[in-house]
Amino acid sequence: MPAPGHQSAAVLAAEPAPPEAKAVFELHLANFTGPFEVLLNLISKRELDITEVALAEVTDEFLAHIRRIQASAGEWNLDEASEFLVVAATLLDLKAARLLPSGAVEDDEDIALLEARDLLFARLLQYRAFKEIARQLAGRIDEEADRYPRRVPMEPQFAAMLPELVWQASMADFAALARKVLAPREPVPSEVSLGHLHSPRVSVRDQTELIEALLRSNSSLSFRQLTADAGHPAVVVARFLALLEMIRDAVISFEQMAPLGELRFRWVGNDGGTGGGGGGGVD
């Protein structure tokens, strides 16, 4: 017997899963069993609360799934992996937005939060809409491929009436043209570069070292204190990410006396240093 609240794809899927030739990514969660597509479907129809879906388990299962494909096909399925990342990131955003304290709308910030939530939801729906439309377009293309257009060479009598070609290019001209056309092209940038805005690149690793030094020499510090000298939002973000990593690595602890109260951090690691996790950076 499934646990109460357990949703099974077989009974609840309003739409059948897409007929995939390859292995379908199946999930086996505490409250849901079935293809990933069906899970998305339930969430988008709000029949399953995103806050009740264990995204970490979804990710673990996806990684296992993609490894199985890699093992059997001999290569990574990048299409599927990048697609999963997009959807997972949206789900994570959505879940984060849902978990934020809700209640009476009191100020502009609350309204902004609600709007952000709807936008995330909209983004997920839009992504799925285009996937569905792409499936329909593929069907139409397949259907049309059975009709062959008449496209025959010009009948000889008309070809003979074409105006005589006037050839003006010399051999040198022609070679120069070939050189130009065959030269490897610089990839065209897809958007206007923001490089000229001089946004400094901030290393999370550097910020980790800085925070470690600060916390080792102070018994505890608040987030406000730790970012007082930041100067640029990217530095604040990098320090926040550094703190998250240090919490994960269990080298610092944190406490918060009241909801929305001040966050205080304390060094609890050994004396050997963190090993500097996180080579990433924030632009």
């Binding site: 593929a138 259907e143 049309e144 059975d146 958007e191």
Partner: protein
Amino acid sequence: MEYSPADQPGGLKGALEAVLMVVEKPVTEGELALALGIPPGQVAEMLVELQREYDGYTGGGPQSVDARQPRGFEVRSLAGGWRIYSRNWFAPVVAAFVLEGQTSRLSQAALETLAVIAYRQPVSRARVSAIRGVNVDSVVRTLTQRGLVAEVETDPETGAILYGTTPSFLERLGLGSVAELPRLAPHLPGLENLGDFDDTTY
């Protein structure tokens, strides 16, 4: 006496068929009218007559005694113009003779990118990327090489190249125009008016 296609055996309808035999892409009623020296409305009428004849109805009337078989080809209006196609039910036979071979299938990524461009055109690669959540540069390049999308204009503000679908895209989908694309709204419940949310979230 001066030459007039109307005086030839088969008359103007025959002349219309003759021109359809040599077109390389869908040809508009206006172009056909110009070639035949008659008003576009008359061309449109004759095209519908030809369609009916090829489908197995006689030109003579609806109650003809000998039930006619449909021809092995049809004349269709696609991408804003008319063109002759073989019947889809003979595809297995015809395929053996068409040297070009149907072009290879589009990948899932290409299809989804094509869908976004079709519904959001004219659209920049950056915006398509925002909606798809991945970089689409190489996919757009492939679609351009296949003649399904093309650079149509430049954004006056950002200078970004904007892409749109081509007549060849419409032909591949069997559509008369972009307006005939299946509606997106049913797949976006309650979000019909939220067309631009993708710009604000990235």
